[in-house]
């Protein structure tokens, strides 16, 4: 990279969306691995940038890369942990940040909720929380708008049921 034209444009766009990468990494990686995951997402985006033809928004394109890299990371990590961790070992570190790591305890609660979801539902909720329209959510995930709306509705209901069960 020599910092000319398109690369400057890429860096500007990437930096405008850096909070998005941090949030996605926090939702899918253990605390110690988040920085590595952010780096991996950034590098994959940089490698894919020459193919980006701006038929979609940069955010849509970047969300796809970030979600794919993060979900792939989490699946690999889960497979490894299944071989390493046993019932006798202490409970694994939670993926969600602790209140010591986030200034906002409410944000930590959000991550705790997200942690309970499977990777694709997690992606759906992250996009919904980022206030993406259903059409963009559908385009990022590769599902229909109807499917996206139905799934978000189901997740909300599930959360209400879980709250009622444990009350």
């Amino acid at each position: 990279m020599n910092g000319n034209g398109p690369h400057d444009e890429f860096l500007d766009d990437l930096n405008r969306h850096r909070a998005m990468l941090v949030k996605i990494a926090a939702a899918y990686a253990r605390t110690a691995d988040r920085e590595d995951l952010v780096q991996e997402i950034a590098v994959q985006a940089w490698r894919a940038y020459p193919r980006f033809e701006r038929r979609s928004k940069f955010s849509t394109w970047l969300y796809r890369i970030a979600m794919n890299v993060a979900i792939s990371y989490q699946r690999r990590d889960e497979r490894t942990r299944r071989r390493v961790v046993t019932a006798d070992e202490p409970a694994l570190e939670r993926i969600a940040g602790t209140s010591e790591e986030t200034a906002d305890e409410r944000l930590a609660q959000i991550y705790e909720l997200i942690e309970a979801l499977d990777p694709l539902d997690r992606a759906l909720v992250l996009l919904y929380l980022d206030d993406r329209p259903y059409a963009e959510i559908a385009a990022i995930l590769g599902i229909t708008e109807t499917n996206a709306g139905t799934r978000i509705g189901r997740i909300k209901e599930r959360l209400k049921r879980d709250a009622a069960h444990t009350a």
Binding site: M1, V69, R76, L129
Partner: protein, 244 residues
């Protein structure tokens, strides 16, 4: 202050729409300590360890090269022993095995190279999981068939590398080895299923046991089913219900 219990957290947080504002307000804080630059991206790019897919592609290329070399060497051996069925038949059996490995490896390599992270998420996660299923199936097949190839490998290897005739050890001895090779397969599967999940085993042993017992393949298939269920994939068309 005692942290609220989980159900209280869920109660407070269950209104997802109400937490969107909290979520949005966290952006400036999260972005404050991070800024990408060209030098950092270049440095990260050079670090080979970060990219699992690239590692898999390299692994597949090496495996493919070794198996292609094997096919070639065994094929050459077979051509040199066309008139000797006792060497030709084992060589053909080995070559069929090696060709099967080449085909499986080439398919996995093509799948891996087709992965583009900028494609829709469900499509890529489905491809990745299908690749994982194929890889596990291939490894399982290799492990389970390997004992059957022991005697052909002994015959061809002894003759090809050392000029020795393994049949000189006696047919009963060879037959016993072949029978052992057949028997070890169900035995390995039984041991893997019975003792595999033991916590005292090393991670690599547990992984091997899980593969032989079929647990890894079952897990991969389950994960693929979840992905396909998310998108509402039709089992007959292989595409999402409602199309895109």
């Amino acid at each position: 202050m005692t942290p609220p219990t989980l159900h209280k957290k869920l109660e407070n947080a269950m209104d997802i729409d109400s937490i969107k504002q909290v979520w949005a307000e966290s952006d400036p804080r999260l972005a404050a300590n991070l800024r990408f630059n060209a030098a950092a991206l270049q440095a990260w790019h050079m670090r080979a360890s970060g990219d699992a897919l690239k590692r898999l592609v390299r692994e597949l290329i090496v495996e493919l090269a070794v198996n292609v070399l094997g096919v070639g060497l065994i094929g050459y051996f077979a051509s040199q022993h066309v008139g000797e069925m006792k060497f030709l038949l084992p060589a053909i059996a080995l070559d069929v095995y090696a060709v099967a490995l080449v085909i499986a490896g080439a398919r996995q390599l093509a799948d891996a190279r087709a992965i583009r992270y900028d494609a829709p998420v469900v499509e890529i996660q489905r491809k990745l999981e299908m690749l994982h299923v194929r890889r596990v199936r291939s490894i399982l097949g290799t492990l389970l068939f390997a004992p059957l190839m022991w005697v052909p490998l002994l015959i061809v290897g002894a003759r090809g590398f050392f000029g020795l005739d393994a049949y000189a050890a006696g047919i009963p001895w060879l037959a016993a080895n072949a029978a052992f090779g057949v028997a070890v397969i169900p035995l390995a599967v039984w041991v893997a299923r019975r003792y595999g999940p033991q916590s005292s085993a090393a991670p690599w042993m547990r992984e091997l046991a899980d593969t032989i017992a079929g647990r890894t393949l079952a897990e991969a298939r389950d994960a693929l089913a979840v992905i396909e269920g998310f998108a509402g994939y039709s089992s007959s068309t292989g595409s999402p219900d409602g199309g895109r």
